[in-house]
């Protein structure tokens, strides 16, 4: 029992195809991968929103902003 179906290297390499584990679950892996990618955008957007809200609430007087502009 092997995760990629190979038990030994007593084979002719010209007869060997895919070697990765859990062959046959490629579609499931792609779905999980897509969820990871889309999930990343959702979490990143939430994080960026919170960051922008904090920036908006900061420096009411504008002093730090003027300093930042002067620093270039």
């Amino acid at each position: 029992m092997s995760t990629n179906g190979m038990e030994s290297w007593a084979v002719d390499l010209k007869d060997v195809g895919a070697m990765y584990p859990f062959q046959g679950s490629e579609v499931l892996m792609v779905i999980i991968g897509l969820v990871f990618w889309i999930g990343w955008h959702i979490l990143q957007t939430r994080h960026e929103n919170a960051e922008i809200e904090a920036d908006m609430a900061a420096d009411r007087s504008g002093d730090e902003t003027r300093e930042a502009i002067d620093r270039y």
Partner: protein
């Protein structure tokens, strides 16, 4: 024709490894850039020199004995029959450790025609590639101990880890005939354990004995952040390490070999690239998996660290390290997911260990390399369960227990000897600079000399103004 084909293969292999050595040098440019970026301004020069001088020190010692250790100890301390293996071509006094064209001169001792045919063009480039792994292993420790460790102490540990310990573990678990591969089915194709876990274990031992930087912990024991003085430099350094890592990965493969040369169970006459165990893989496989695991690590790092550049880049590196044990065989999406999950655990572990045990790891090396490498080996044991570890008959198959035991052994082999050596150095007052020097900055004298020179030359020039 066959002779020319063999010559072409040999020269191609020689050139292939030579290119990997050049690429891997970028890892060290990256480490130096990164460490200087993390250190505060009063510590730059000593930080740079501490890391940079590991290069010549590990190089000469790896020539004198490191290379021979790799071939001498695959049977372990009596783990499999055979005892100490002979490897005359790796002894520093052997003619094959210099320019050689494969014949045997009259009176030339210690060179057999078989050794000469195999090693005359490959010895130097194999030695060089392994040496760059060695320097990497040493450099990993360097960053975590900045701003308070004595350079001399680090250089002793660098030789210990770079030219003795890591190459010993490579002989055991990263060698086609290594006892860990034979008995345990240990699989660690791109060195999660044999380079990173052992270096992380050594770094942790060094840090425990060394103690934290002054000011790292508040009186109530909570940790202060000591930010890098230049985040730009840190991230460029990590980018350079990523780039050099391509060479590291390529150097872990044999680029082209025939089944007849492997002389294992593989039948037919299809030539192939292999991993270090001489089991088939492809450069395409590692290209897919390197990039997907790097991406998984960076994406997870961005979220977990809330966009912190230092940790986003570090977790990208950790993603690669966490999949390196099995990146010859993983599917790219598996590499991406492992590359995302393991670094997230390592990030949490870094702060847990810092909080709980007051460990001040300035660059997170124990987390990125130590925990990342350890977990990477463990995960590979599950993911590749039952697959053949070797093309040779009678070797154990890859399995979770074998890889777990291997990961523990790698970490411990770095930790225990380094702990003992650091204790000895500490007892001799050779491990840490005095508190006054740490507060002044380890560059204090160098900076004084610099300022004095600037003032003197400026005064001399101003005196000439009419």
């Amino acid at each position: 024709m066959e002779g020319n084909l063999n010559a072409l293969t040999t020269i191609f292999t020689e050139f292939y490894y030579w290119v990997t050595i050049v690429m891997m040098f970028l890892i060290h440019v990256g480490f130096c850039t990164y460490e200087v970026g993390v250190s505060r301004r009063r510590n730059h020069l000593k930080t740079l020199m501490k890391n940079a001088m590991a290069i010549p020190l590990v190089t000469v010692t790896f020539y004198f004995f490191g290379w021979w250790i790799y071939f001498g100890f695959p049977n372990g301390p009596g783990m499999v029959p055979g005892g100490l293996a002979t490897a005359p071509f790796a002894e520093p006094w052997n003619p094959l450790m210099g320019t050689h064209l494969s014949g045997v001169n009259p009176g030339e001792t210690g060179v057999t025609p078989t050794d000469a045919a195999l090693w005359h063009r490959l010895n130097g480039v194999f030695w060089g590639a392994f040496l760059l792994f060695s320097i990497t292993t040493a450099s990993i420790i360097s960053g975590s101990i900045i701003e308070r460790a004595r350079s001399g102490a680090f250089w002793i540990v660098a030789v210990l880890i770079g030219s003795v310990l890591w190459i010993l573990d490579a002989s055991w678990g990263w060698h086609p005939q290594g006892w860990m591969v034979k008995l345990w089915g240990y699989h660690d194709a791109y060195a999660s354990g044999v380079v990173h876990a052992i270096a992380g274990g050594a770094a942790l031992a060094f840090l425990i004995v060394l103690g934290p930087r002054i000011g790292k912990f508040r009186p109530d024991g909570t940790a202060r952040d000591i930010p890098p003085h230049n985040v730009w430099l840190v991230t460029i350094g990590l980018f350079l390490i990523y780039t050099g890592f391509w060479g590291f990965y390529a150097a872990c493969n044999i680029p082209l070999i025939s089944p007849a040369t492997i002389a294992g169970q593989i039948t037919g006459d299809t030539w192939t690239a292999t991993n270090i165990y001489l089991a088939p893989t492809t450069l395409s496989a590692i290209t897919f998996n390197f990039l997907m695991s790097l991406s998984g690590g960076m994406m997870a790092g961005y979220i977990v660290s809330k966009g912190d550049p230092f940790w986003t880049f570090s977790m990208g590196l950790c993603g690669v390290i966490a999949t390196s044990a099995g990146n010859d065989l993983y599917h790219p999406i598996q590499a991406m997911l492992i590359g995302a999950i393991v670094p997230s655990i390592c990030y949490k572990l870094h702060y847990f260990v810092e909080r709980r045990f007051k460990i001040d790891d300035a660059v997170g090396a124990v987390a990125v390399h130590g925990y990342g490498g350890f977990l990477g080996v463990v995960v590979a044991g599950f993911m590749l369960w039952g697959q053949p570890s070797s093309p040779y008959e009678g070797f154990a198959h890859i399995n979770p227990l074998g890889n777990f035991a291997g990961a523990v052994l790698m970490f411990a082999l770095g930790f225990a000897p380094t702990f003992v050596v650091c204790k000895i150095l500490n007892s001799m007052n050779l491990l840490r600079v005095p508190a006054k020097v740490e507060l002044e900055g380890v560059d204090f004298a160098l900076n004084h000399a610099f300022v004095a020179s600037v003032r003197e030359v400026a005064a001399a020039e101003k005196a000439l103004i009419k």
